[in-house]
Structure formats: C-alpha cells, structure tokens
Amino acid sequence: MNLTLKIWRQKDANSKGAIVDYQVQGIEGDMSFLEMLDVLNEQLITKGEEPVVFDHDCREGICGACSLQINGEPHGPDRLVTTCQLHMRKFNDGDTIYIEPFRAKAFPVVKDLMVDRSAFDRIQHAGGYISVNTSGNTIDANAIPVNKQDADDAFSAATCIGCGACVAACKNASAMLFTSAKVSQFALLPQGQVEATDRVLAMVNQMDEEGFGNCTNTGACEIECPKGISLENIARMNREYVKASMKG
C-alpha cells in the first residue's frame, strides 16, 4: 500500500517543531508500524536527509520504549498493543497518517518523535520499591503465603511497561494510572505493607511536582493502555492516599 505520512519534526528540545509530509510506497500488511518508519528512514538516508528519530528497542511490546501519537491516539488505533506491535494491516492503501510525539508538559520533546519520560523514573525513585537489602538474607520465599487473587492482581498492576500512553491519552496529562499501578502492586502484597504510608505520599507528591495534571475520571488512560492496566488501581491509590493522609 501507499501512504501519506504527516510527521512531527523538531530539531531539539529548544527548537520549534512542525508537521512535514512524506510519501511511502510498497508497505505490506505484515510490517509493524515501526518497520514502516524504517522504510521511510532508509528512503531519507539514501536522499541524504536526516531520518526521523523515535524511541524503540525490544520491538515486542514489553520494554515500553516506543510511543507515538498515531492519528491522535497513543500507540494508534489497535487495542492492547504498543506501536511496535501495531501492524500495517490495520491501515488501508491511500491513508493519510498523522504521527506525533506523546504530548505532555512533563514529557518534553527530545527530538522529532522522541520525548523525555524521566519524570516517570523520578516518581519511582521517590518510593517505588520495598526497602529490603539485596543480600539474600531474607526469609524463605514460601514463608509468607499470599492469596492467589491478591498475587494475580499485584501481577496485573505490575505489568505496566512505563510507556506513558496513559499520560498522552489524558486531557489533563495525568500520570495517575502509571503511579497507581506501582502503588497497587505493593499495596496488594504483604511485603509492601510496612512502607505503605510513606510510599503513597512520596510517589504522589513527586508526581505532582513533575507537573502532571489531575485525574478527572475520564478513563481514556485505561482504554489506550497497551497492557490493559485497570482504573481500579487509581481507586486503590486514592484509598491508600486518604488512609495515609489521615495517619500522617
């Protein structure tokens, strides 16, 4: 198929960006969206132009590096996939596709379609861990049984890949889904109880400091999340936060 691409180009964080039009030919349905961009880049390099910069690494939907706002949706039109697993069979010959970076104040553009998501790391630094030493001198792994449902729910929350689609989808650019997934994982496990109070306060505080917006329960984040992280996590984090604030 032949496509018209309207791609955001921006030299660096301090420059102004703009949409630039490109044509690509001979795209096959079996190609992933990023392989389609590889074709474009090969074309640009041959012409002596600078290729389009975008984040990507594992190309199997787990590292969370790839992003892209495709026709206005984070990770494009398909559900429960990252951009690297979005296949061109979801598009038609002659389509025009708008490709932009994830937009949020807390995610400044680095170059073209690549954004800086280090705000997510800083939220995790603030409290996204259990303070045990890594010496291995702990109790036996089976010493504390964990209810299977709680363990499964903690796992589901923990499958967040930190891509930032939730922020890009949200009209307020809120990071509540991301932050609540980590808070939930630990809140559901006995190991996480000891530091539960401090953790939720520190992580929410950092999230606010980074300039993410508030949650107004629209639910766009849950729909666009490539890993299907549930809104229940936000509810759980709110409960944890209220509990912690009362204690504090």
Binding site: E28, E35, C58, C63, V110, R117, F120, Y129, G136
Partner: protein, 671 residues
Amino acid sequence: MSILDSKIPEGPLADKWTKHKNTINLVNPANKRNIDVIVVGTGLAGGSAAATLAELGYNVKTFCYQDSPRRAHSIAAQGGINAAKNYQGDGDSNYRLFYDTIKGGDYRSREANVHRLAEVSGNIIDQCVAQGVPFAREYGGLLDNRSFGGVLVSRTFYAKGQTGQQLLLGAYSAMNRQINRGKIQPFNRHEMLDLVKVDGKARGIIARNLVTGEIERHSAHAVVLATGGYGNVFFLSTNAMGSNVMAAWRAHRRGAFFANPCYTQIHPTCIPVSGDHQSKLTLMSESLRNDGRIWVPKRIEDAQAIREGKLKPTQLSEDERDYYLERRYPAFGNLVPRDVASRAAKERCDEGFGVNKTGEAVYLDFASAIQRYGKEKALTSGVENPSAEEITKLGEKVIEDKYGNLFQMYEKIVDEDPYKTPMMIYPAVHYTMGGLWVDYNLQTTIPGCYAAGEANFSDHGANRLGASALMQGLADGYFVLPYTIGDYLSQDIRTGKIPTDTAEFDEAEKHVTERISKLMGGSGEHSVDYYHKKLGKIMWNKCGMSRNEKGLKEAIDEIAALREDFWKNVKVPGTANSMNPELEKAGRVADFLELGELFAKDALDRRESCGGHFREESVEQDGEQKGEALRDDKNFKYVSAWEYKGEPKDAELHKEELVFENIELKTRSYK
C-alpha cells in the same frame, strides 16, 4: 602452560564458594565510601550488581543506552527462572541443577562456577519475593513451578510469560532505592565507547551522551560490564534493536580475552520470518513446550498442500501427523534442550516438511492440552456431562491464564488465532553463551574489569538451558560479584579518586573521536542497515544452526571484505555533536563486523559438534545416536579464549582446559 588462571578455589566442589567467601579480603564500610564503581548495562546482571554494590556503600555510576534502566532487554525474557528449591518435592537439589546445567551445556562449562550458580539459586527467589516480585502462586498461596527443557523436575518459577519483566522491575526498584539515597548516579541515554586503562588496570570509560553527542570521561576503581549478548551480529534475532557488543568488544580490544564466540543459542520456538522488511524476531517462550506439541505432516504431499493453502492443519488426523520430537526423543519428548529441538526442526524443514509459505516453519499445537485441561477443569468445578464445546472453552481459559500474553502477541503479529489453529514456529538466534572470558571472580583478563550476566561466558557451556539466563544474571549481580569485587577493591582503599585529566584518558578520548570522524566521513553509498543485513545473511547461512569448514572459511573472507567496504562506503547522515541514532548504529555494526569474523574463526577452530555449535563433519555415524552431534572430548575439552592482535584473523587462541572431577563425561542423550 596456559596463561589463563581461572582461580578456582581448592577443596571439595560443594565447599569451594563458602570457603572462598570466608577467605577473600573485605573492604570496611568507611573505606567503601571512597571507592567508585562503574556499571555498564542495567539489565538483570547490571541492575542487581549496581543496587547491591551501592547498598554495600560503594559509589556507583550506571550507564545504559536506553532512556531508563527499566528498558534493558532482560525485560523481554518470558518463561521463567530456575532455582533448586525442591518445593515440588520431585527430587530436585543443588546437585541436580548443577548436573543438568553441565550436561545441558554439553560439558563445556566450569564445574565450580556452575555449582556456585546452583547454590545461590534458591536465595534469588527469596530475595525477589522479599522485593515484591509477583511470581505465580497456587491456590494455597505458595509459589507455583513449571518445567523447562532438558530437565526432569519442575524448578522454574514464573510470572505468566513476563518473568523477565517482573525480575527486572525488581532489580530496577532496588536501584531506585539507591538512587534515592544518592548512592547510584544513573547515566541513561549514554553509551560506553571505550575502556580506559591506567597502569594496566581498568580505571574508567569514555561514554557518549546520546542526547547531546558530547563525549564524557568517567573514572572509577573498577568497571563492571553487564552489557548482554551479541546475537544481533545475525541482524535478525530476538534481541532488542539496540543490543550490541560494543562495550565488550572495546574491552576486548583493550586486552580482555573473548571466550567461545561461536557458542550461540538458536531458540526453537520463534515466530517465523515473514519478509525482507523484518527488523527483528519474536520469541514464543519455551514454557509453551510444557503444553504444546510440535509436529509437521507425515506425508510430504500434505506439507505441500498446506504451503499452498489447500489444506488446513486442523484437517489432519493424529495418524497423519509426525510429532517428531516425541518420536525421536521419547524420554524428553517436546522438552528436549533448545539446540536439539532447533536442529530437529531444521532437519524436517530441509526435508521439505515445512508448513508456511517459505517452508521454514513447524507447528506448535495446543489442541490436546486444551482438551486435557478442559476435562480436568470440568471435573474439579463440578460440571456434569460437559459438552465438547464446554470442555474446549474451559480448556482455553486455562491456557489463557498460563500463556495469555504470548497468545495475544502471536495473534497480533501473525494475524491467526492460536487457540483455534496451531502456532507456526521456527528457530531464531536468541542468546550467546560466549562472551568475555572471566575467572571464578568474574574478572576479565584486564584487572579491575569485570563481566556479568550474558556478557561473560562463564556458566552455560555450549548450550544454555531454558530459564537459566535470568538465574545467572541475578546470581552474578546480587550474590557473586558484590563479594568477589571487594577482594580486588581492598587494594584500593588508599588510592583516592582516579583523575580523568591524564594521558590515558586523553588517548582513549582521542581514539573515540577519531573513530567517530571516520564513521561520519564515509563516501555515503549505503546505509548502516544495508551492511548489517548483509552481515546477518553471511552469519545465518554459514555460521548458523549447521556449520562446515568450507562455509566458515568463506564467511571469514566475506566478512573481512564487507568490513573494508563498510569503512569506505557507509553513509551516516547528521552530525556527531547532536542526537544521531544512525551514528550509534554505525558504531555498533562496525564492531559486529569484527566480532563476526572472530566468531567464524572460532567455529572453524572447533572441529567438533557440541551444544549449539554443530559441525557437519562431526556426527555420530551409527548406533542409537546415529545422526546426532558428535562431541570430541579428547581434542576440544577446552574454553577457547581469544586475545586481540589487530585484525580478527590475527587473534591468538589461548586454551583453558576444562577439568571434570565430579561429573563423568558422557554422550549427551535425551532419547
């Protein structure tokens, strides 16, 4: 007399590690605060090492090319992590894990290293659970296990098909705790371009800030390389796009010996290649072989009809299918080790029984598992006289709970529903057992330069067993390196900070900038990918699942010629002093073009078949094992460690003889 000293402690096998820990030097807590350590790579080995070293009190700097340590490619590991916990009471023990690993590696790894790995394996699970890693559990609340290839017990712990993700996020969280304490300084979007040696010791690195293009100097008292494997030398592999050999190769050029480069794991269950545009391959976890049965049609006409789209696999009856692994290896069936399963798939496809357009695919079928689980579920949930549809539905739900994310991944890529029609799979490059040569302390042949995880060669011999990579990465990072590095650093308590304004750093930086200018200065005929794909084709065709003398000699010449062409004609757009992903790729491919030649040279030297290295000239001629790989212990029971001497063709071979005191060398049979 070999110049390689593996520093394996004296004494009985099971006591070596304990005794070693009791006798090596320690650094007191106050002195640790004055010692700096650089860790390059933040996957399971690097992340866990960085967190533990920082917790002990050292000042740690971490480097990764990704935008966050959490994105290191360990995250993509699917199936699980082995540990000799014997929670299932099925006869597992440290000795069995040790034995299985040595045998699985086709008797080409060190006994002492592997036993240590088995000894610390149980502790890894304790550690991870304490960190909040949500492993799969049974209804009673205790941890669940499954089986992996090449073993007869269930010792694999898992978190659905995302075990690597959960373990890496555990290590990342341990890092975050230390970052918050100021003990780890993370340098993300940075790439190591050279190792700096002062007085023969590793004392720092030259790194490029990938956002600004700036070249930076970083010093330390020791440098840990945990930079993963080099599977991307094949262009198409299950590695991440950015996975590369640069840090290890730069260390090699500075004097670290490179061991067993030809030992590559070609994983049997990957989604087949669909076309020339393909940029990478996707693994379908080995755990699927717990429940999936591998087959091709018995009759070549049926295979032909399937390829032409005239016949569907579900139309073939049981009698018309050849479950070739169950047929050839009745004892282990579908759970033979990876090298064996891969060669068997290639053999069937080469004979014309392949089932997709390209003829390079076999089936992985869940139909009988769905029926088995469905019946069991109907019984346990009290459904009386369940209909066939009900059984299928219940069975599919059980399969979804176990492997849901893998099935979804398959469906998105191939556009077929694997619950209804068997998956198509084919072998693909997945892991490299070879890597930097290290001694028992994980130190390379450069004092102060350590290698951990997939980047070293140490534990898997010529073939790695499934679910052992995660185990080794975390064992090295959490439990081995933090002890052994202290012994070395105890000499450095009075050294003080290593200055970076010295002749050694000047020289290394100059070397790096000259190389970058050279890469930017090519005449501009072809893109970096053009060369990378060409290299990949040579590697796959001549250094892949099956190798012979003629092909390997050709590969050596072809790679050398391609490298020469690359340096003359590669086209790198943009500038060196700004973000430039093409320049990053060019640097990595330049190193692959050297490594690839050494790889072929090593494969040529090893005129035996062992593990993942299959030489067509070395095959069992008769008896029960006819046609299977033939190992030659008399002549090749050694680790090949290559010393850099300029061009790869001039590399000098050093041999570390492997000594087996506790295990009898046998033909590796899974029949």
